[in-house]
């Protein structure tokens, strides 16, 4: 009797299985025909790292501080740079990343003080060799001269503003004893604001992309 029950019970379980697969047979497939259709990328999609192009300067903001190069666990970032003739700001003159080594962990993005690194949304990256040492500055080289001129102007303008402010403060100081203090506070505030604006800009761009 146990034998019969076992055989029958087994048979029923088999038919249950068959009925499940039969039902699945007539359902719509869930796959994507990959090269013809492409998945919608997640907003957080991480692909090769790139330098952010800021609207106000039309260029990146890498100051070659080497923070990313130092933190990179794959040692795949190579940066050179420094002082550029004519402007105060430091600039990167070489910024290459070897994406054959990069693991897209994002530590470089985390440590970047000027928030000029982000993930690109490149998709379908494949190649025939392992030469993935990419020059991140490539798209900026044409603008570099223009940037430097503009940056000089900006810096001059900022210096002029500062001077004017200082003059105004000085004028005020004639009446007010706390002049020195005020100037300092104003300067600090401005620097903080600038940094914040940069950050917000960077994040917005990331979000939009």
């Amino acid at each position: 009797m146990r034998y019969v029950r076992r055989v029958l019970g087994g048979l029923i379980s088999l038919f249950v299985g068959l009925s499940i697969t039969l039902r699945e047979l007539f359902k719509k497939p869930v796959t994507l025909q990959y090269p013809h259709e492409k998945p919608s990328l997640s907003p957080a999609y991480r692909s090769a790292i790139k330098l952010i192009r800021f609207d106000e300067t039309n260029s990146h903001d890498c100051v070659a501080c080497l923070a990313c190069q130092k933190i990179c666990p794959s040692f795949c970032i190579d940066i050179e740079g420094g002082k550029v003739e004519g402007i105060k700001k430091k600039r990167a003159t070489k910024f290459t990343m070897d994406f054959a080594l990069c693991s897209l962990c994002g530590l470089c993005i985390d440590v970047c003080p000027t928030v000029t690194l982000e993930y690109s949304k490149l998709y379908d990256e494949a190649g025939y060799n392992r030469d993935w040492n990419m020059d991140l500055l490539e798209e900026f080289t044409d603008y570099e001269e223009q940037f430097i001129t503009e940056q000089r102007e900006r810096e001059e303008k900022a210096a002029a503003e500062k001077k004017a402010k200082a003059a105004a403060a000085k004028a005020k100081a004639g009446k007010n004893e706390k002049a020195g203090k005020n100037e300092k506070a104003g300067k600090n505030e401005k620097a903080g604001k600038n940094e914040k604006a940069d950050k917000v800009g960077g994040q917005a761009e990331e979000g939009e992309a």
Binding site: G17, L18, T21, K28, V30, T31, Q33
Partner: protein, 351 residues
Amino acid sequence: MSNLPTAPETLADYVSGNLWLFFAIATAAIMGYLTLNALFLIWLERKISAHIQRRLGPMEVGWHGVLQTVADMLKLLSKQLVTPRAIDKPLYHLAPVVVFAPVIASVAMFPFAEDLVILDIELSLAYVFVFGGIGIIGIFMAGWGSNNKYALLGAMRSVAQNISYEIPLILSALSVVLLVSGLEPVIINDNDQLRPASGISLIDIAIVQDAKGWWFVLVQPVAALIYFIAAVAETNRAPFDIPEAESELVAGFHTEYSGMRFAMFFFAEYTNMIIVSMVATVLFFGGWSGPLLPGPVWFFGKTYLLIGGMMWFRWTFPRLRFDQLMSFCWTVLIPLSIVNLLVTALVLELL
């Protein structure tokens, strides 16, 4: 194929001089059919499995990938035949042929319609089983000749499995044979000679069902089920695919075969499927008999439906373990088929 002369008269006519021509044409036709059939079945299997798994399967070559298998075959044809060094050469090279050849021979004996049969042999049912048995030798040759432990294990499993499952297979077929001989005899006009239908001839079995108007599956459901299970095991398909069990034995007996040699095994598997399904069609589902549509349509329709069932099985169940497979055969199928046979005989005696 329909313009081929039917067997009973033509054999007599052609014996005089055209026998070789006839066989040449017939063999070519069968080969062509089997090749197309295998290509189609492989595509069908991939499609069915894909849709069961909520995929689309091959989509690139031809309409819904229908030519995919043709492309695959071309690829296999163009591939290098890798021959391992330490093999038993004659066995290794002969094995694919030994596996493939008998299945061609079997197909010749099926009545696709009442007047459409290539070789009408009186003992055709027995012949089909005999040819079915030869393939196992080929599998064992492949396993032994490859000089590979996985292949040998697969081959030994295969032999044990096939020999065991042949018993319920034949016992369940025997119930039908008994039925044909034991029922009120149907008289067949064979070349103007009247004779009672023989249970061991495929065409006679089909004729009897056609004449009676009902299929044997109705009176022999247990035999039909046993036959179907044993047939799946005979073809080494999941859930009885332990000879090639890819998760255990890599590829079983054909581990060392590549290119077209591998394709021969592959073809043999799918051809075996169609043979056991054709036998089932004739034994239990009335062969070509059916209303309205012409005989061959019914015949092939039923056959491919059964094959679809086998594929459905394969993509639903996990694989049995070797000892379970054997004990299932010896403790469930064989006793059941013997009981079924005895009951059939008893009922026929009482009627």
